[in-house]
Amino acid sequence: MTAKKIHAGAPGLLFLALLLLLSVPAPLRAGEALVSGQYLSGTGQDIQMRITVANPAPTTLIVIQNLPTGTMIDAASPAFNQYDADKGEVKWLLTQVAPGSYTLSLHLSRPVASGQISGEIRYKDPANGRLTNLPVKP
């Protein structure tokens, strides 16, 4: 009788243990990006890139926007830190980054066609300190 009771309760206990394991909040799953980027506008005179940062956030990001060489920039928000017109490379340095979304905008002197631009986000993974280069395509 006692043995029967034990056997009857065992699956229940196993189920309970499984339920407890599954209910434990998991950290960031493998493959889930800490940082992601997408173009809100990738053609014409206005280029906009949105960057989304997850938790735990890298403290610093370098965002690179590649433009056709010789492109003139009329305005930028926020202001960029570097622009090499010969290479068509714009760089922003974003420090004290918190989890959330950030939008970077450029207003160009002449429109660019789709496929003429590309972006890249560089950061150090806070978990292992490794440099990550994340390409962003329009």
Binding site: P58, T59, T60, I62, N81, Q82, K91, L93, T95, Q96, R122, Y123, K124, P126, G129, L131
Partner: protein
């Protein structure tokens, strides 16, 4: 209202209560080493103070002693015997002299306080007699199987908890490590940052003293948090702190003397003393040497420019330390440029655009 009294030479002296000092120290779990380090004397001196060999000490030292014991000065003063000093009063702070009349060294003095007189209300010390004296009603109850079973379960639970505490618990300090992050090189006269991260596997707060000895040719510039004391040759930085979480970060800026020869290597040493650990000191591991170089400390590969990875490394390592002025502006300026060159005449970097 303390019992300070100026002695010959105008140095204020106080009589301290050695037994009380020992009691406070032991109650707070402080080691003689910790107290000695805070006060700035040897452990032998602390031992002598506690054993009342030198009850009359400088007021300045008594104040430091009170601070180390986290007590008030009034708590450690011997109010009962303010003027019954028999030893030479102005020799108390210095390490033991050969001329001291007592030939026996301090370690022979018993560590435990003098045996107290038996307390009048002390509990009886004859447990064997207790069962015999137990009333018959208790025996009747104990004979009931349910009660016995309940008692056995309680006993087992208690034993289990004790074992659990024994294996998993700690007395406040777990594995403590201290790691220094230091650039591989720096230009003489240009400040560079140093970070020492202390981590502890236990979660209970604990006090520590972190001592960092800089190379002789190095000048401390700024500390975050501010270091408590600084000696000159070689410069020694000291922090006395309490860690509330699992880790704490101590950082400072220093620079090599402007006349330091290029390519010379300079060594850093440090140690952590815990307040209730008998180990003498936990050495600071990590980087311990820095070379004098015409390259900026943030240009870790010494190629005359600061690239994206170097910039990100600088921000990841030092950017989060609030108020540490390690020269972000110059680093960003070099990063945004084509490179830089050290000008030994002007002792500045020429930025190449």
């Amino acid at each position: 209202m303390d019992s300070a009294k100026p002695m010959a030479g105008g140095i204020p002296m106080v009589n301290i209560d050695g037994a009380r000092i020992r009691r406070i120290r032991e109650e707070k779990g402080l080691t003689q080493l910790y107290v000695a380090t805070v006060v700035g004397v040897t452990t032998d001196t602390i031992s002598r103070w506690e054993n009342r060999r030198y009850p009359n000490i400088k007021k300045e030292n008594a104040l430091k002693l009170a601070e180390a014991l986290e007590a008030q000065l009034a708590d450690i003063i011997d109010h009962g015997q303010p003027t019954t000093v028999t030893e030479t009063p102005r020799q108390e702070d210095i390490p033991p002299q050969p001329a001291v009349p007592e030939a026996k060294p301090a370690p022979t003095v018993p560590e435990a306080p003098p045996a107290p007189a038996p307390e009048p209300d002390a509990p009886p010390t004859a447990p064997a007699a207790a069962p015999a004296a137990a009333p018959p009603r208790m025996l009747r109850l104990a004979s009931q199987p349910v009660i016995i079973l309940f008692a056995a379960v309680l006993l087992l639970a208690f034993a289990g908890l004790t074992l659990l505490w024994w294996y998993t618990g700690d007395d406040g300090e777990g594995q403590v490590t201290a790691v220094r992050t230091l650039p591989a090189h720096a230009t003489p006269g240009i400040a560079f940052p140093v970070v020492i991260e202390v981590t502890n596997s236990a979660s209970k707060p604990f006090s520590l003293i972190l001592k960092e000895t800089l190379p002789p040719g190095c000048i401390p510039v700024q500390g975050k948090p501010q270091f408590a004391s600084q000696e000159n040759t070689p410069p020694v930085l000291k922090w006395i702190g309490k860690i509330n979480g699992e880790h704490a970060v101590y950082s400072y800026l220093a620079k090599l003397r402007p006349d330091t020869k290029m390519e010379t290597v300079h060594h850093f040493t440090g140690g952590v003393t815990l307040r209730s650990d008998d180990n003498p000191s936990i050495p600071v591991s990590g980087n311990d040497s820095l070379q004098a170089s015409p390259f900026h400390w943030a240009d870790s590969n010494g190629d005359g420019r600061i690239d994206d990875e170097e910039l990100l490394s600088v921000y990841e390592t030092y950017g989060g330390i609030e108020g540490l002025h390690f020269g972000k502006k110059l680093i960003e300026e070099i990063w945004a440029s084509k490179g830089y060159r050290w000008d030994p005449e002007t002792r500045t970097y020429d930025i190449l655009h």
